[in-house]
Symmetry: C2
Subunit: 221 residues, 2 copies
């Protein structure tokens, strides 16, 4: 369903299957916790057979990051572009994100978060890729925020980068409370924080129009 695109010729097909299983493990145990041995065992294949598809553990990790980012963008940002620019689209992005967190990231873990923590003070291509994909989604969200300003939904003095910084903080806190502390109220807290943040940056005219807890559709793909 969310598997990677159309496959061809056996090779790419099993490569995709490996990537799929690897994402499952890496989400749980992190990119460093993922070992080729356990990945092979889980797939009922030999270690060397699995290994050959990527050439090195590092390239496997990079492929994992790319695939995870692809799914994230597809689930969070892509469906939102069908909505009107401005606050509707920004809100939809947040809701899509929240839905993804509840359905896949809380049960399985998030590679963006574990990867960031694991590689934030380690040099090399894995770290660099991590930075790249992070910048990519941040840019996307900043663009949506900027459009909300242009539409007059958010105040002109609202800094898009600051807004995205704060919203990502909400997501990180959500992961922390939901996964480590197993606090069921975390999702509600995250929504409240989002509302409060948007409310703060909302243009006066728009703020009055916000019926405080309006309906917010999550746009499905």
């Amino acid at each position: 369903m969310t598997k990677s695109a159309v496959t061809s010729s056996k090779g790419l097909q099993t490569r995709a299957a490996i990537l799929d299983a690897a994402l499952d493990i890496a989400s749980r145990d992190g990119l460093e916790g993922l070992s080729i041995g356990m990945l092979a065992e889980r797939m009922g294949k030999s270690k060397s057979g699995v290994f050959a598809h990527f050439g090195s553990r590092e390239e496997l990790q990079i492929a994992l990051i790319d695939e995870y980012a692809r799914r994230f963008m597809e689930a969070v940002f892509l469906p939102a572009i069908r909505l009107a620019r401005g606050l509707p689209r920004l809100t939809a992005m947040f809701e899509n994100w929240l839905h993804r967190v509840q359905t896949v990231e809380i049960p399985n873990g998030c590679v963006f978060i574990s990867g960031a923590v694991e590689f934030d003070d380690r040099e090399g291509p894995v770290r660099e890729r991590m930075v790249t994909v992070n910048r990519a989604w941040q840019r996307e969200m900043q663009k949506a925020a900027r459009q909300a300003i242009e539409c007059g939904h958010l105040r002109a003095d609202c800094d898009p980068e600051q807004l995205v910084f704060e919203l990502y903080g909400v997501m990180l806190a959500l992961h922390h409370d939901a996964r480590l502390l197993r606090d069921a109220r975390a999702v509600r807290r995250a929504r409240l924080a989002f509302d409060r943040t948007v409310d703060y940056y909302a243009a006066p005219a728009q703020a009055a129009r916000n019926a405080r807890r309006s309906a917010r559709p999550r746009v499905a793909a």
Copy 2:
């Protein structure tokens, strides 16, 4: 200076020294990235000699969590109790935290964060201890928030747990941007987010009194 308390009889003395070096490694590479071998090499001691002080790797990790939590509380919360209850104390806590982040956590890493990510879906005593120390500082900060409400500095309808949730999100975003993305503006962003949050929850009378970016002392120990 911030070494652990008074030591006695060689044994506890070297144990403290090991803990000190281990904290350095664990901050960088996480609790799982810390190995007894590299710890021994770094100290110029034998693996088994280091090992004997803790009995198991798990107990070493737990001792590390405790020591890290002790230092955190000592640096962030303890100095703040000398200030007046309410917003002054809450603000001091945040500033002390921010100072610690800049001086030790950004350069070295944070065990609370890496530990949370590493153990959030793994059962066992290490995870449990992680939860315990997390709850401890959250309770402390919630208390400060509650007092700020009682003092009339924050609105009566402000939920202390929600406030702490949001403030921790700010800290997590700070770590992310400062460590992974190496964004020097992260600290400024965190302060802005704190101001905005407190401003939002501030009681009307207090809000007017806030001269927007007032002096905020960081209370030294």
